[in-house]
């Protein structure tokens, strides 16, 4: 069984609810139908009735048995408006109502209020918009202020293991994170790994230096991020700074890493110092090691949600739903 089939099996039959706010897109209609018929989750489709009707027509399937909501006409609008305002004194009720009437934000409020378990969007929206809805409606996870992303990388064969999974972050969102942001990326990635990997997360903060072998401000940033992350989560297996080989090759770690480390050589969560490194690393791993690069997925929110690429296929939407729900 492939790794994605495993996630589908893990979530199927649990009646988890996924809200799909882009109901005017025929791919969303087709994906909702599959998610429902294959018993992966309970889909909820948002949109204006006339737009959904057009998408249904194009898709050639129906939404029988699937909940469809027009946010503007929803009887939850007043409740979501008040929840959106929360303790803020810098937003009027009128503006808040405008916000939660937008499908992405309505979906985010459904997740925040427990009316859905996750939201999957991005097939017809910019990543920036999905992140805005995540931050402002769903909210951030406790102790984390930086939205970020990760890839699930599946290496066909590595040191005698087949289909070895790793979490790579951040390879898509934060261009040049500072130490605090890098710590957030590490903590969010550990949380993502807990939901998706069989093994406990072992988080390596990567650098061009291993435990002080080089001196530079960029190394200092990684060391500072490590200390911040440890301070926020003292029980997490996280260590660094490591060069990539010290992180994932036990023999190299044994030579280069002085002192005890439960992470060195055995890391399964790799945190790159910036987007240059992360993006280059995932693409090289994908091409040279023939790894499956599954993602990117968003992380750092109070509840996992996901962004789709504009070119997402129906299968991508279904798989993303399963992988996101598998993190719950």
């Amino acid at each position: 069984m492939g790794i994605i089939d495993g996630f589908i099996k893990k979530v199927s039959g649990r009646n988890l609810k996924v809200v799909l706010p882009e109901g005017s897109d025929e791919r969303i209609i087709l994906a909702a139908r599959r998610i429902k018929d294959e018993n992966i989750a309970e889909p909820i489709v948002l949109g204006k009735p006339e737009k959904i009707a057009e998408a249904i027509e194009k898709a050639g399937v129906n939404l029988d048995g699937i909940t469809v909501i027009n946010p503007k006409e929803s009887d939850k609008l007043a409740e979501y408006t008040q929840k959106y305002i929360g303790n803020r004194d810098d937003i009027s009720e009128g503006i808040a109502k405008r916000m939660v009437s937008k499908p992405l934000f309505y979906a985010g409020m459904m997740v925040k209020c427990g009316d859905a378990d996750t939201m999957i969007a991005g097939a017809a929206s910019a990543t920036a918009s999905v992140i805005q809805a995540g931050v402002l409606a769903v909210g951030m996870a406790e102790g984390i202020n930086t939205p970020s992303s990760f890839f699930l990388m599946v290496i066909p064969e590595y040191l005698g293991e087949t289909d070895k999974p790793y979490i790579f972050a951040d390879c898509a969102v934060n261009i040049n994170p500072n130490a605090t942001e890098l710590a957030d990326i590490a903590l969010a990635s550990a949380s993502s790994a807990k939901g998706l990997l069989t093994d406990e997360p072992k988080v390596a903060m990567l650098s061009f230096s291993t435990k002080g072998s080089a001196s530079h401000a960029d190394v200092d940033k990684v060391v500072e991020a490590l200390e911040i992350a440890k301070g926020k989560n003292p029980t997490l297996a996280i260590d660094g700074e490591f060069q990539a080989d010290s992180a994932i090759v036990p023999a190299v770690a044994a030579k280069k890493v002085k002192g005890e480390s439960t992470v060195a050589g055995y890391a399964n969560v790799l945190i790159f110092p910036d987007l240059d490194c992360g993006n280059v690393a995932y693409k090289l791993t994908q091409r040279l090691a023939k790894a499956d690069a599954i993602g990117p997925f968003l992380q750092g929110f109070a509840t996992p949600i996901s962004d789709l690429s504009r070119g997402a296929s129906v299968e991508d939407i279904v798989n993303t739903t399963a992988i996101t729900l598998a993190q719950l």
């Binding site: 937003i91 009027s92 009128g94 503006i95 405008r98 916000m99 937008k102 992405l104 929206s125 910019a126 920036a128 918009s129 992140i131 805005q132 931050v135 402002l136």
Partner: protein, 79 residues
Amino acid sequence: MSDVADRIRKVTVETLKVDPGRITDDSRFVEDLGAESIQSVELVAAFEEEFDIEMDEEAALGVKTFGTAVEFISAMLSA
């Protein structure tokens, strides 16, 4: 046009808590006027509320300066 510009200036001042004297046509909401990029979407909602219009997401993301907001909203109102 000037009425629209005045109202957009008023909403911008109220939402971003900036001095009206700092706002020119070229002022960028995020870089120059201090809007958090995450909260720029709320500024758009404030414009929608002021003029009782609905800006789609693509258009909203394209409105980056005071001047483009005035142009875009004026065009919507006269359509």
